[in-house]
């Protein structure tokens, strides 16, 4: 009797191991691969470049960005990332990190913000904006998201973002919520966070900018949103446009209290 029990226990043990192993090969191996790469997240290279760009004298005015006001006063960058997007009185707009950087690059350095906004991702000054956003996000790593909803424009942006999130359209009738409106779902093997509520530390809004292993590119939130819209079969959303900013406010406010892990590492 004892022997039988022992053997059956062994059998169950073996089965469990086998099943666990089979599941691991399907999903967990991707996580393992990511964990392995996290030892040396290539985003560190972009961080270093971003820090240099912040201090370097550049542009037609040959000035640095050190006096840039990211919402906490000129030159204060620690903790700024987790409070963006927010309303800025000088521009009269709600701005996220990337669109605010364009304002600073124009006002302090003399670059043409509209030109940079029109430049494709991964080209020209856009590369520098991404590097700057990467470094600035790293300066708030581990901090909790805390976006203001005090200004009416911030409240409007949240409500607009919510409507955009549920906007069904295009040939496939997709909205953001088609993929990100339920708990515990996947596209193929990719886990999908539910972004209609707080998805938790380091998930969704709290994980960008990120280095994408699959294509070897560093992406800011603007590019992430743009690619979501691309896959949704929507037309092209402008860089720093009202739509992408409002979306950032919706996601950022929903993530209140979640810790930022940016710059993160993605598949």
């Amino acid at each position: 009797m004892r022997t039988t029990s022992f053997i059956s226990l062994l059998t169950v043990g073996c089965l469990t191991t086998t099943v666990a192993f089979a599941q691991k090969t399907a999903v967990q191996s991707i996580e393992d691969y990511r964990a392995m790469l996290a030892d040396g997240n290539p985003s560190e290279l972009f961080e270093a470049k971003g820090e240099d760009l912040w201090k370097q004298k550049r542009g037609p005015k040959n000035a640095s960005l050190e006096a840039c006001d990211l919402g906490k006063g000129p030159g204060v960058y620690k903790g700024a990332f987790v409070e963006l997007p927010r309303y800025f009185a000088d521009t009269g707009r709600v701005q996220d990190m990337e669109s605010r950087l364009l304002t600073c690059m124009q006002n302090l350095q003399g670059f043409n913000a509209d030109e940079i906004a029109k430049t494709g991702f991964g080209k020209g000054e856009q590369v520098n904006v991404t590097a700057l956003a990467t470094w600035l996000s790293a300066e708030s790593k581990g901090m909790k998201f805390n976006l203001s909803q005090a200004h009416p424009q911030e409240k409007i942006a949240y409500e607009v973002g919510k409507r955009l999130f549920f906007q069904r359209g295009g040939p496939h009738d997709f909205s953001c919520a088609s993929c990100h409106g339920q708990d515990n779902t996947r596209i193929r093997l990719q886990d999908l966070p539910n972004l209609t509520k707080n998805p938790g530390d380091g998930i969704g809004f709290a994980a960008w900018p990120a280095y994408r292993v699959s294509n070897g590119q560093m992406w800011g939130m603007q590019q992430r949103l743009n690619d979501c819209y691309r896959q949704q079969r929507f037309p092209y959303p402008g860089f720093g446009s009202d739509v992408t900013i409002a979306m950032g406010v919706y996601l950022g406010v929903n993530s209140a209290g979640a810790k930022s892990i940016a710059p993160a590492l993605k598949r």
């Binding site: 399907a26 309303y87 009185a89 009269g92 909803q149 005090a150 200004h151 009416p152 424009q153 409240k155 409007i156 409500e159 607009v160 919510k162 409507r163 955009l164 549920f166 906007q167 069904r168 359209g169 295009g170 040939p171 496939h172 009738d173 997709f174 909205s175 919520a177 088609s178 993929c179 409106g181 339920q182 515990n184 779902t185 996947r186 596209i187 193929r188 093997l189 999908l192 691309r230 896959q231 079969r233 929507f234 037309p235 092209y236 959303p237 402008g238 446009s241 009202d242 739509v243 992408t244 409002a246």
Partner: protein, 230 residues
């Protein structure tokens, strides 16, 4: 009716002006008042303005794809409100979509399941980075389990493994399986005919799949020989 619309737009613009006050004045207003549901028309107004000013046509995707139909508008509004459509409205939308279904011109519902599997695997086509020649995929595996051998499947939709077998389809030409096969065609052609705010695209209705391709997808699900039913 026209007059009412005109006034609601005016009201929205008026409220919009109030909220777009210069910063100092705006800060004096009470944000709590802004958050009240009475401002929904204002928020809707700004939402429409944001969409208009932010998107541009790119490649094969024109901004006109956002001029969506009554079905999507009703479902989006229900999503924003956080409550499903009432039953009567849902039935109306389903009936409206049911009317659009184009049944096979030759009466043949079932094609080649192997072609269906290829379409189910592909999630390509119709993005702004695709060109017009990119063949459209059916996107099936993105959300559904189908052939059990394919472990990379999504879970937004229900598992369709053994779809035909579970529904007792042993012969696609038998009168007993006719109703289920017709429903399968209809569901793929226009999913909203059976569930008003379904997450599933309307593959035939929106021109994502051709009639011949829908036939292959039906075969993938119902043909007893299909990998789905093994």
């Amino acid at each position: 009716m026209n007059q009412r619309n005109y006034f609601s737009v005016l009201a929205a613009v008026g409220a919009a002006l109030v909220m777009a006050l210069p910063p100092v004045q705006a800060q004096q207003s009470k944000p709590t008042a802004v958050a009240s549901s009475g401002n929904d028309e204002v928020f809707d107004f700004f939402y429409r303005e944001a969409v208009k000013s932010s998107f541009r046509s790119q490649g094969i995707v024109k901004v006109s794809v956002l001029d969506t139909d009554e079905t999507n508008r009703a479902c989006s509004a229900a999503d924003v409100a956080g409550k499903p459509l009432d039953k009567k409205r849902a039935k109306e939308i389903e009936a409206m979509n049911l009317k659009t279904i184009k049944w096979p011109s030759d009466g043949k519902f079932v094609g080649d399941w192997k072609e269906g599997e290829k379409l189910a695997q592909s999630g390509r086509g119709l993005t702004y980075s695709d060109d017009a020649k990119t063949p459209n995929g059916g996107n099936c595996y993105n959300c559904h389990q189908l052939d059990k051998k394919e472990i990379s499947f999504g879970t937004i939709g229900p598992s369709l493994y053994n779809y035909g077998k579970q529904r007792g389809i042993s012969d696609v030409n038998s009168p007993a399986s006719k109703a289920m096969i017709e429903y399968t065609w209809g569901k793929i052609w226009n999913s909203k005919a059976y569930n008003a705010c379904s997450n599933m695209p309307r593959a035939g209705h929106m021109g994502i799949m051709t009639e011949a391709q829908v036939r292959h997808l039906v075969a993938l699900l119902v043909d007893p020989k299909s990998a789905v039913n093994q």
